[in-house]
Subunit: 167 residues, 6 copies
């Protein structure tokens, strides 16, 4: 196991500035942050972007940051971590409901693989109310998401909604 690698698992549909904030904080802790986009049956159906599109978009966002890698994974998060030689997992916390869910997942993951360690970090206070689902909803209803996602993500979201509208 290599403790200078951490995985950052999630659905990232899409990556928000809150996620980006956690990635950049993670880079101060470890040499390499591997963003793992979880492939789950439900997400791929109702999502805005496909798993492949999300991975491609994250790669675009971090094109100039060789220490960030993006990939998709199937199966248990702990198995993904193990397969990448990572024992560390990073997660952002925003609200009490996040905390409860994350705590439950951390204890479950530890139960499945006692070596894993989840590091919870607080995002910048300005991002404490952000979530991918809220950003998707705002964009879907025609709102401006410039403050919530990076320029590249906004561009891809605009394209996606333009496609939907033209259909």
């Amino acid at each position: 196991m290599n403790d200078s690698i951490a995985i950052y698992p999630g659905s990232f549909d899409p990556l928000t500035l809150g996620h980006d904030d956690i990635v950049r904080r993670g880079l101060r802790l470890v040499e390499r942050v591997i963003i793992g986009v979880a492939e789950t049956a439900t997400q791929s159906k109702s999502g805005l972007f496909s798993i492949e599109e999300r991975v491609a978009l994250i790669r675009e966002v971090y094109a100039d940051e060789p220490r960030v890698e993006a990939t998709s994974f199937q199966g248990l998060t702990v198995d993904f971590a193990r397969s990448r030689g990572a024992r560390l997992m990073i997660r952002g916390l925003r609200a009490v409901s996040d905390f409860e869910y994350e705590f439950q997942m951390a204890l479950m993951n530890r139960s499945l693989w006692p070596e894993v360690e989840v590091l919870f970090m607080a995002p910048d206070v300005r991002h404490t109310f952000l979530s991918s689902s809220l950003v998707r909803e705002v964009a879907r209803l025609g709102g401006d998401v410039t403050e919530f996602v990076s320029a590249i993500v906004k561009e891809r979201m605009d394209e996606r909604f333009a496609e939907s509208a033209s259909r």
Copy 2:
């Protein structure tokens, strides 16, 4: 700043097995964990052990672990961290109320020193209900704290309560 050093600030009156669990998890992240016992006016009065006794007790507990250091500090936690060349701070999370307080402190600390990063970790599930104040109370009422603190801490607590009783 040295990212292989983390401070673990608190009042530690006394160090419980929950704290110990976080220290040991911290040692898997960084080379050196500096346990900082905060000197505050209120704590020194109502506490079970004095600040000096707490530091001495923590040093006894980690006598065989050269990577753990214990010291007291006055003033802001971020100033203590900075003075030790540490940018990382570790904190355990147990419950929702912990989370809110810790989140508030993490954001305040970041406001005071943007470079600081707080890493929250979940203790072993068996320690999720432990707190120093609860352990003090149980011991004060004659309960057995063997399951909650290390053998050395228990011994010192027994001595302390024996002293109180004989007065």
Copy 3:
């Protein structure tokens, strides 16, 4: 903007006595409360009443109260508010999970339109456990909802379930 108008957005499927309590409290704050039934893809499918039926039902409930208006809206809640010249939004709070979601929405809305102000109000304590989804579920399972909704709403719910049964 007219500060004697407030919008009260929601799905209202159906309007409960808890909602009614908030409407009546709102009428003590402003001259006019505009109940906005949000048109969302998911709600219209799985709901008990259609958007149009909900609006009609709310109009029936407030037939004698000219200061309450009901209408449906599409798009962002802040755009709806703006279109009606309203800068105030009222929302009821019941439980912790309500609070977190409402807080997140309020901050998101403020991010989208800094002029908007959300006023949170506590309903009567007797309604603190009420929710439209719980009321729908109880009615669907044959329970008596007399204590949870107004007489008109109950009548329409009875009709709706009678229709379902006779199909």
Copy 4:
């Protein structure tokens, strides 16, 4: 009404060791615990086991415990309780979000039938992060659920996933 009978309602898809812990605690309170598997439209569709399978599985688990009974029910939980002559209902609590939902349900049930009394119990601390949905998810992703469910439940889960895989 017979106060030596309690119902324990839920979806139990599947019964976890956390549920089992609550059942065994319930047996110390009352003579007979009736596990009621709620038949709801949504659960029967997306579940791992059908309602009938869940009841059969619970009966297998408690084959040697004549004081535990398992059955399915339709309609309101309070009506089920009443039909079985039970005024007591037991529920496990794990987290804050559980608490809020359970509290809301308890107050709603009391509103529907003032005689009902819900007794909330804390499971063993080792089970505080367990949930049926998490156990289903772990098993679906190939994780080992030995620590989370009884041997019989694990066996039936393995069979179910083997069937899915061979289809």
Copy 5:
């Protein structure tokens, strides 16, 4: 151990209608409810009534209810329960912060005496915001506490504040 006895521990300074509601619910579960007023150093100093006065007041309130007993106790709650042959403990739950504290205490008590079982109950919804400290504060500031405590408790509170005023 006698499972038709439950203890109801607390500080009861004073007994509110919320406490009374839990006592009456407890009487539907067990033959005898023993209200245990905990003697702690801090409470006896800052309290409205002394420990002895609280016990006497509770006895007055339940003068006609032979199945309720009131007594004070020192030391651990589990030791008090054990000394009375009771394995059951009842506690009311109102809010999230109650829940966390109560959950922590229940797990700590179980750690100290695995046989103990804490039964949490929800008070009547009208009492969900009541607390002894709030009632004391309201009375101290000249507010009317008729809706929050029984007539006997109100009378003793009035006497106490009249004494303070005349001093």
Copy 6:
């Protein structure tokens, strides 16, 4: 009662930028915001500023805002509101623990005076972690509070700590 007046009660030791944010939001709702500094036995002892100093400081802060008034009050908050002809009360909400306490107080106040209405508002997201006690603590430990309080408040705090140091 005059619905263009709202009281904003609290201890304000000292007034933070979070409080100021709520005051300014309140001024968009009503003609006049009356900041009421509550006189309580405990606060006057352990506080940084006396009740009179707090009132004077708030008056300095709002010297150019004739629509804001500051005064101290004794007794129940609802009695203070009533004495000023105000039926509206404003309160800021930051976190879940705030919410629970505020909700409890709002219901208690309504119980004491059914006409009162509490309007909860969310402060700017940048102030969600601020509290007077945290600001006092930071200043006491030598931290810079420029970002947390207005210039006038900072000046008075600096003076106060300089006095303490020179004693």
